[in-house]
């Protein structure tokens, strides 16, 4: 079940990503992960997972996916 996407981005882009998700009416809900600088949890549902992933991958910023175990 896809319920979250974990990514690491430069902290200077956190607000930018929040605003992008707001533009998509919070299709993915972004929260920071405690004690993991720059790691964000984007909460999705099985039917929004793919859409949110597409949005992320088309943003003009660099990010990397973080596996569930390391965050």
């Amino acid at each position: 079940m896809h319920e979250q996407i974990l990514i690491r981005i430069d902290v200077k882009y956190i607000n930018y990503l929040n605003r992008i998700m707001e533009g998509y009416e919070y299709l993915g809900v972004v929260t920071t992960v405690k004690d993991q600088v720059g790691v964000l949890r984007i909460r999705v549902t099985p039917d929004t997972y793919k859409e949110v992933q597409d949005i992320l991958e088309n943003l003009p910023i660099e990010f990397e996916y973080v596996s569930n175990n390391s965050a």
């Binding site: 607000n15 929040n18 605003r19 707001e22 998509y24 009416e25 919070y26 299709l27 809900v29 972004v30 929260t31 920071t32 909460r43 549902t45 039917d47 929004t48 859409e51």
Partner: protein, 199 residues
């Protein structure tokens, strides 16, 4: 300038979405007529609608409000403190979908104004925490006309429109709720909870 006006100005200048005039009139009417002792708000932003409701609720009323955006939470704390309402308004920091399941107590009025794709999920998570006769107010349910339109919605809003339709379908057909959809503004659904024994 009073505090609410100052907040409106701040929200406009900084692109922070807050309740529009038409929806806020409906919200105020609901608070005035229900006189709720306990209010739950999902989506605080900077605390504007919470402070608005606080003006019209009973003196011993309490509001629990949830927000996940750290910078908005800081602003909301400041505004709530400046309004002298820290005793009455409890601000919870985090994702509503997680927080709602852990909430204690019952609510007489719920204002849903956060992630539109999650409205039904929010409602299902709090239905056992509604007092009999509770009012649930959901903002933006017609979503820029897309929910009732015959035209297919823009691709980026497809899921949201689908989910809002599911929310409206639920509150219109589940016998525990009586719902009126107001077409003012971006659409506001006002539902009255008839109590668990109606099911």
């Amino acid at each position: 300038m009073n505090l609410l006006n100052e907040m409106e100005r701040y929200a406009t200048d900084n692109n922070i979405p807050i309740i529009n005039k038409m929806s806020s009139n409906l919200l105020i009417d609901a608070v005035k007529s229900k006189q709720p002792k306990s209010i739950l708000e999902i989506g605080t932003a900077i605390g504007y609608s919470a402070l608005l409701m606080a003006q019209y609720m009973p003196q011993d009323g309490k509001i629990t409000t949830i927000e996940q955006d750290a910078s908005r939470i800081d602003l909301a704390y400041d505004y709530i403190a400046r309004a002298g309402r820290t005793e009455q308004i409890q601000l919870l920091d985090g994702d509503a979908s997680t927080i709602l399941s852990d909430l204690e107590g019952t609510f007489d009025l719920v204002f849903i104004d956060a992630a539109k794709a999650q409205y039904l999920d929010y409602l299902c998570k709090i239905v056992d925490k509604l007092s009999a006769g509770a009012v649930i107010i959901a903002d933006n349910v017609l979503f820029r006309g897309m929910v009732l339109s015959e035209e297919p919605p823009l691709k980026r809003y497809k899921t949201i429109v689908k989910r809002l339709k599911e929310y409206l379908q639920f509150v219109n057909t589940d016998s525990r709720f009586t719902t009126t959809i107001h077409h003012e503004g971006d659409g506001v659904a006002i539902s009255y909870y008839q109590g668990a024994n109606k099911k």
